[in-house]
C-alpha cells in the first residue's frame, strides 16, 4: 500500500523521482522524525525559559526559587501549545488528504469562524460560561462549516477545486464573522469573554481547561493516526480506492470526524490559529514524502513545533507587548500559501 501511495497524490506536484531516490526515501521519514523531535524539545525548552522575563534552566529544578511560578505558568502554556499545535497540524494533514486539496486548512475552510460563531451562540443565547459546556458547540460549528464549504464547493460544473473551496471558506468566514459581531454587539458580557478568544492565543489558559479538552483531542488523534491507510487509498482516487475494497463514505466519515474533533477542540481552546494546518503538512511532505503513514504523525509533531516557536517569537519580537500566536502563524503561513499558489496546480477557475 505504501508503495503505491506516493504516486497517487495527484493534486500537488509529485516529488517522487528516479530509481536512486527510491532507496533514499525509505530512510527519510526516520531522519525527519529525529529532526522534528529535536526541534520540539528545543521549542518546548524555549517556551518555558524565554519571555519578557528570561529564566535560567536551573530554576526549573528548584521549586523554592522566586521565579518558579513563572516556570509553572509557562509550563501550562507550553502544554496548551503542544496540544493545540499538534491537533492543528494533524487536522491539516487529514483535511488535505480527505479533500485531496493542497489548500485545505481549518482557517481557510472557515472552520475557525464556524466554531467561533457556534461558541458565541453558546455563550450568549444558551448561557454557558465554561469551556466544557461550549466546546460541544465549537465542534458543531466546526463540522457545520466544513460540511457546508464542501457541499457548496462540490456543486457546479467542475467539482470542488481548490479555488472554489478557498472562496467558499472565505465566504463562510465573512458570514460567520458578521453574525458573530451582530450577536456580540447586543451583549457586552459575551463580548468581554470573546474579545480575548478572538485573536488566537495559547496564553492564559488554565490546566483544567486543557484537561477538559484532552479526551476529545485523544480521540481525534487516535482516530486520525489510525486512518493513515484509508487516506493512502483515498489518495488514489475514488474508483481505485473502491477497487481496493474501501468503503468510501465510511472512510470519509472517519477522517472527517477526526479532523473535526481536532480542529474544533483546538479552536475552542486557543481561538482561531490559522495556517498551521496548511504550512506544516506541506513542509513534512517535502521532507519525508507523501505517504500518510509518516505524514500524519510527523505533521502532528511539526504543528506543535511551529505553534510553540511562533508563540516564543511572538513573546519577544515586539516588547513590551506580546504578539498572539494566531497572528504569528498567519505571518509564517501566508508565504507558504503564496509559494503553493505560485507553484501552480491549484487552478480550476482561472
Amino acid at each position: 500500500m505504501t508503495q503505491v501511495a506516493p504516486a497517487g497524490t495527484a493534486t500537488w506536484p509529485s516529488r517522487t523521482g528516479s530509481e536512486e531516490q527510491q532507496s533514499v526515501r525509505d530512510r527519510r521519514p526516520a531522519r525527519v522524525l529525529v529532526l522534528v523531535l529535536g526541534l520540539l524539545v528545543l521549542a518546548a525548552a524555549a517556551s518555558v525559559l524565554v519571555g519578557s522575563r528570561g529564566v535560567a534552566p536551573a530554576v526549573v529544578l528548584q521549586p523554592d526559587h522566586p521565579l518558579h511560578p513563572i516556570v509553572q505558568a509557562r509550563g501550562v502554556r507550553t502544554l496548551v501549545g503542544l496540544a493545540v499545535g499538534g491537533a492543528l497540524g494533524l487536522a491539516g494533514a487529514l483535511l488535505q488528504g480527505l479533500t485531496r486539496n493542497p489548500l485545505a486548512d481549518p482557517g481557510i475552510l472557515g472552520v475557525n469562524a464556524g466554531a467561533g460563531l457556534a461558541m458565541v451562540v453558546a455563550i450568549a443565547v444558551v448561557g454557558l460560561s465554561d469551556l466544557s459546556g461550549y466546546v460541544w458547540f465549537g465542534f458543531a460549528g466546526a463540522a457545520g462549516a466544513m460540511v457546508l464549504v464542501h457541499l457548496v464547493a462540490s456543486c457546479g460544473r467542475d467539482g470542488a477545486t481548490p479555488v472554489k473551496i478557498a472562496i467558499a471558506g472565505a465566504a463562510i468566514t465573512a458570514a460567520a464573522t458578521s453574525w458573530t459581531s451582530a450577536m456580540l454587539l447586543t451583549d457586552r458580557r459575551t463580548m468581554e469573554v470573546f474579545r480575548t478568544w478572538q485573536v488566537g492565543t495559547i496564553g492564559g489558559r488554565s490546566l483544567d481547561v486543557l484537561l477538559t479538552c484532552l479526551p476529545f483531542l485523544a480521540a481525534g488523534v487516535l482516530l486520525g493516526l489510525a486512518s493513515a491507510r484509508l487516506l493512502d487509498a483515498l489518495a488514489l482516487g475514488e474508483d481505485l480506492a473502491r477497487g481496493l475494497g474501501r468503503r468510501i463514505w465510511r472512510d470519509r466519515l472517519v477522517v472527517g470526524t477526526a479532523a473535526t474533533l481536532l480542529a474544533g477542540t483546538a479552536t475552542a481552546l486557543a481561538g482561531p490559529v490559522a495556517f498551521v494546518g496548511l504550512a506544516v503538512p506541506h513542509a513534512i511532505r517535502a521532507l519525508a514524502g507523501p505517504a500518510h503513514t509518516h505524514l500524519l504523525g510527523l505533521s502532528m509533531l511539526g504543528g506543535a513545533v511551529l505553534t510553540l516557536a511562533a508563540d516564543v517569537v511572538g513573546r519577544v519580537v515586539l516588547p513590551p507587548s506580546e504578539v498572539q500566536v494566531g497572528i504569528m502563524t498567519a505571518l509564517v503561513g501566508v508565504p507558504v500559501l503564496v509559494l503553493l499558489v505560485r507553484r501552480g496546480r491549484t487552478g480550476g477557475l482561472g
Binding site: A166, S178, A330, G347, L349, G350
Partner: protein, 356 residues
C-alpha cells in the same frame, strides 16, 4: 435574446446586404443603449427611494415638507437635530461610499476579467483598513492624514498582491489576495489588542464597516476628493469596454496598457478613500458589478454598478439601524450576513467560472 444581436460594425454586413439589414443593425445597436438608460433611471429611482426611507422613516418620522424646511434652515425642535446630525449625514455618506465601492469593484472585476477579483475579496479593502488602524493606534493620525494612510495601505497591498501572484492574474491573484487579506486582518486585530481603550465603535468601523460615527467634515473631504477623481474616472473609463476584451485585443484596438493600469490605480484609490470614511463594508464592491451587469443584459456598466453599490449601502444601513429594536448594528454586519450567502450561491451554481 439580445445576446444574438450584439452590435457589430458596418463593415461586417457582408456584400449582399438586404435593405432590412441596416434597420436590423440599427435596432440592435439602439436596444442596449435604451436598456442602459432604463437601468440607470430605475436604479436612480431606487436610490432616491432608499435615501428617502433612510432619512424620513425609522424610529423618528420626518415628513417631506419638514425635510425641505429643515434643509432650508428652519429649526424644528428634535427633528432638525436628528436629521442634520444623524440621518442625513449617514445617508449621504452611505451614497458616497456605496458609489465608490460599486464603481471600483466593477473596474477591478472587468479589467482583471474575474468576478471574484473584487477589492474586498483580494485584500485591498483590508489593506486600507490595516493602514488606517495603524495610523490611529500607533501614529495618532486623523482627518486628511488618515485618508492618505489608507490610500497608501491599499496601494501597497494591491501592488504586493499583484507582484506575489505573478503575471497573468486569474485564480492565483484571488488565492494570494485571500491569504493577504487573512494576514492583514490579523494585523488589524493585533493593533486593536494594543490600543489603550477598547473602543467598540472604532473596532467595528475598521473591521466590518459602519456609518454610525459620521460627521460633516468627513463628507466634505469625500466631496472634494470626488470632485477631483470623477472627471479623471470618466476620462479613463472610456477605454474600459475595450480593455474588457483582454490585453492583446485592447492593444490591437489602440488602447494602450497604461490606461487599464491607471484605471485600476484609480479604483484602488477610490476603495481606500471609502474605507477611510466608513471602513471595509463587506461584499458591496463584490456584489455591485455582477448585479448591475445582470440588470443591464450582460453588459458592464460602471455608473450602474456605482448606483447598485449606493442602494445596497443605504438600504443595508436602514436595516442595520432598525431591524432589531434598540440595537444600532454597523452596516457591514448586514452586508456581510446577506452578501456571503449570495457568494456561496454563486459558487454553488457555478456562475463564477463563466466569465473568468
Amino acid at each position: 435574446m439580445t445576446d444574438l444581436l450584439t452590435p457589430t460594425g458596418p463593415h461586417t454586413l457582408g456584400v449582399d446586404h438586404r435593405p432590412g439589414d441596416v434597420a436590423l443593425v440599427r435596432a440592435a445597436r439602439r436596444r442596449p443603449a435604451r436598456r442602459h438608460r432604463l437601468v440607470l433611471a430605475g436604479l436612480t429611482l431606487l436610490l432616491v427611494a432608499a435615501f428617502a426611507t433612510r432619512t424620513l422613516l425609522g424610529d423618528f418620522t420626518i415628513t417631506i415638507p419638514d425635510f425641505f424646511r429643515i434643509l432650508g434652515g428652519a429649526e424644528i425642535p428634535g427633528a432638525t437635530y436628528i436629521l442634520m446630525e444623524s440621518k442625513l449625514p449617514r445617508a449621504v455618506l452611505g451614497v458616497l461610499v456605496g458609489l465608490a465601492f460599486g464603481v471600483s469593484g466593477a473596474i477591478f472585476q472587468s479589467s482583471l476579467h474575474n468576478p471574484l477579483a473584487s477589492p474586498d475579496i483580494i485584500g485591498v479593502s483590508v489593506g486600507a483598513s490595516a493602514a488606517g488602524v495603524f495610523g490611529i493606534v500607533v501614529l495618532g493620525l486623523e482627518g486628511w492624514a488618515l485618508s492618505a494612510a489608507a490610500v497608501v495601505g491599499a496601494l501597497v497591498t494591491s501592488l504586493a498582491v499583484r507582484l506575489l501572484a505573478g503575471p497573468g492574474a486569474g485564480h492565483r491573484l484571488v488565492l494570494v489576495g485571500i491569504g493577504t487579506a487573512a494576514v492583514l486582518l490579523s494585523v488589524v486585530q493585533y493593533l486593536f489588542t494594543r490600543a489603550d481603550v477598547w473602543d467598540a465603535h472604532l473596532v467595528l468601523r475598521w473591521l466590518t464597516g459602519s456609518l454610525n460615527q459620521t460627521d460633516w467634515p468627513t463628507i466634505r473631504i469625500l466631496l472634494v476628493l470626488a470632485a477631483l477623481l470623477v472627471p479623471l474616472l470618466g476620462w479613463l473609463a472610456r477605454s474600459l469596454r475595450i480593455a474588457e476584451l483582454g490585453a492583446d485585443a485592447a492593444a490591437g484596438l489602440g488602447v494602450p496598457g497604461w490606461r487599464t493600469e491607471a484605471l485600476l490605480l484609480l479604483a484602488v484609490v477610490l476603495v481606500a478613500i471609502a474605507v477611510a470614511a466608513a471602513g471595509p463594508i463587506a461584499f458591496v464592491a463584490f456584489l455591485a458589478g455582477p448585479t448591475a451587469r445582470a440588470l443591464n443584459g450582460g453588459r458592464m456598466t460602471l455608473l450602474g454598478a456605482g448606483l447598485v453599490g449606493a442602494v445596497i449601502v443605504v438600504a443595508a444601513d436602514h436595516l442595520a439601524a432598525y431591524l432589531v429594536p434598540d440595537v444600532n448594528y454597523p452596516v457591514g454586519v448586514v452586508t456581510g450576513a446577506f452578501g456571503a450567502p449570495f457568494l456561496l450561491w454563486l459558487l454553488a451554481t457555478g456562475r463564477t467560472s463563466r466569465r473568468s
